[in-house]
Amino acid sequence: MQDHSAISRIMRSDSGIRWFVGVLVAAAVLLPLAHVLFPEDSSLHISTYTLGLVGKYMTYALLAVAIDLIWGYCGILSLGHTAFFALGGYAMGMYLMRQIGTRGVYGDPLLPDFMVFLNWDSLPWYWYGFDMFWFAALMVILAPGLLALVFGWLAFQSRVVGVYFSIITQALTFALLLAFFRNEMGFGGNNGLTDFKELLGFDLQASSTRVGLYLTTAAALLAGVLVCRWIVASRFGRVIAAIRDSESRTRFIGYRVEHYKLWLFCFSAMLAGIAGALYVPQVGIINPGEFAPINSIEAVVWVAVGGRGTLYGAVVGAVLVNYAKSYFTVAWPEAWLYALGALFVVVTLFLPQGVIGLLRRFRREPA
């Protein structure tokens, strides 16, 4: 009997993805359980801080999956993907700001604190609608998606490829960084958006909300990886891999390469936007620093470390590198950037397939 449901087809194809699903589901169940079941002084207790940290890693992992989808499978190296992440984050941040209501420092029922501080007397038009969650959720997807559509259309139509594309994506995220730093933009300038109180009526400081956010993030990561897996396993996936390997050849057998790249780029941007939206309530702030070009490069390093073209490798890389970052920036702050640079060099030179490639090599050559 062959089972032809989509999920089973995805799971059958690759043992790595089964491992990934198993570990993720275990983490999603066990960590909140340990948080709830064990008392705070128990060594098995998982604190809200740890839960938030792992949740944050998982949003990074989703961003890494989005990057792996276009880089690993279609050869599009975007060095500006955190721009989409940050846009999704800002859309969520705007919703959270409007939720503050009269509880802000100035107590203005309509205007967020920073607008009162700037002596603005009315809400800018682009803040309308963000008091409704469904609208904000839509914008989380649409804002990055539309930017990717316009930017990607211009870039792919002009056949900008390879390193040139990477450079203009850097320029894109840098331009957004500068724009969002400006107070006149109406996004809180360099302080960004913070001091959030509640999400959908749930207190953001409450541990139950934290657990809920954590579970939502885990579910989003799982769904993201499975949907990406479904995409790359379809014939569409084989077309984009063909584009990666020989773009002009793909054109000559009749595929509109630009359409494929644009679709994939927009999808990836939306995925990054969702990751950003989940990131903001867990860390409690979004500021223009998220647009920094270095962040995008770091995200690409996660994918390279994990092993590109596997999807779950991106997750492994994001978690490993960010764990190392959390550790280093506490234990030895000035060494972190050197460690990151060294990591990238080592991976590029010795581990072209990343950590996943290393694991596969061990499995194939049993002693």
């Binding site: 995409i231 379809s234 014939r235 569409f236 084989r238 077309v239 891999a241 063909a242 390997d245 020989s246 002009s248 050849r249 793909t250 054109r251 000559f252 057998i253 009749g254 595929y255 509109r256 390469v257 359409h259 494929y260 679709w263």
Partner: protein
């Protein structure tokens, strides 16, 4: 005032825009006059070098035409013009009577029914033999239809038949990158057939093939002609002699001579060009 001119043109009531004209958007191949490809007065120059010089060439429907010529005669550039890779400076190129090749992009031309096999075999090395054929298979090429595409029995059979024809049925799950040079050539020919083009452009099909493989390729190309039109660019004179009915000799970007192999070989101009190269 000059800025108003395009606006006025835009408002012209007699004008029919291409985008609303279905005949131009998806033109059908029309070979009712018996000619599948019209190239007229085509010139292409790269940095002052004239790769094609007022080239005029007609290919009949169902014909098998061989094109020979010394290096730099413009054979590959001609293929590039037909497939949309290079835009000529002057001239016109029509596929049948209705399809203007100079207005279409590479994928449009491929979908209109012109398939091309490149000089060095270019298969998708990270894909299996089967997947290569599947990618080339004629059918919808849209993003959404590819996302939900599943092979039906008929398509499966079509691929199986192609696998058998190119003799790679035992290697269907092998990566194309692991094939030998000759097998890659065959795979590419198989991909070309999967596209079901009306016109096949075949650039040096037997380069690097063993004599047996060459013979099989010749048989295949001859069997294709009639149903489809085939244009072969080849250096191997023995091969050309074995398949060609009409041979066109290109030299310095234009047609030097045309006729049967014997006529062409005895043409003094052709002899001069080829001898000149040998000296």
């Amino acid at each position: 005032m000059s800025m108003l001119k395009p606006l006025r043109e835009f408002a012209d009531r007699d004008r029919v825009f291409d985008m609303v004209n279905p005949a131009l958007r998806a033109p059908r191949l029309d070979v009712s006059h018996g000619t599948v490809l019209y190239l007229e007065d085509i010139s292409v120059s790269f940095d002052g070098f004239r790769a094609l010089n007022d080239l005029t060439l007609y290919i009949q429907a169902g014909e098998l035409r061989c094109i020979i010529g010394p290096n730099g005669a413009g054979k590959t550039t001609m293929m590039d013009v037909i497939t949309g890779k290079t835009r000529p400076d002057t001239g016109s190129a029509f596929f049948g009577q209705s399809i203007d090749l100079l207005r279409l992009s590479e994928p449009d031309i491929a979908q209109a029914g012109i398939g091309r096999k490149f000089q060095s075999p270019t298969v998708f090395e990270q894909h299996t033999v089967f997947e290569n054929l599947e990618l080339a298979m004629a059918g919808p090429r849209g993003v959404w239809s590819m996302l939900f595409a599943r092979l039906n029995a008929e398509q499966q059979e079509k691929i199986d038949r192609a696998l058998q024809l190119i003799g790679l049925q035992d290697l269907r799950f092998a990566l194309a990158g692991s094939l030998s040079h000759g097998q890659k050539q065959w795979l590419e020919i198989g991909m070309l057939l999967m596209q079901e083009p009306a016109l096949l452009l075949v650039d040096e099909p037997v380069a690097g093939m063993t004599p047996q493989e060459t013979e099989r390729t010749a048989e295949l190309l001859v069997s294709l002609a009639g149903e489809r039109s085939v244009v072969v660019v080849e250096h191997d004179m023995e091969f050309v002699r074995s398949i060609a009915r009409t041979v066109t000799v290109l030299h310095e970007g234009s047609v030097l001579a045309e006729g049967t192999m014997d006529q062409v070989q005895n043409n003094p101009k052709v002899v001069e060009v080829y001898l000149g190269e040998q000296v």
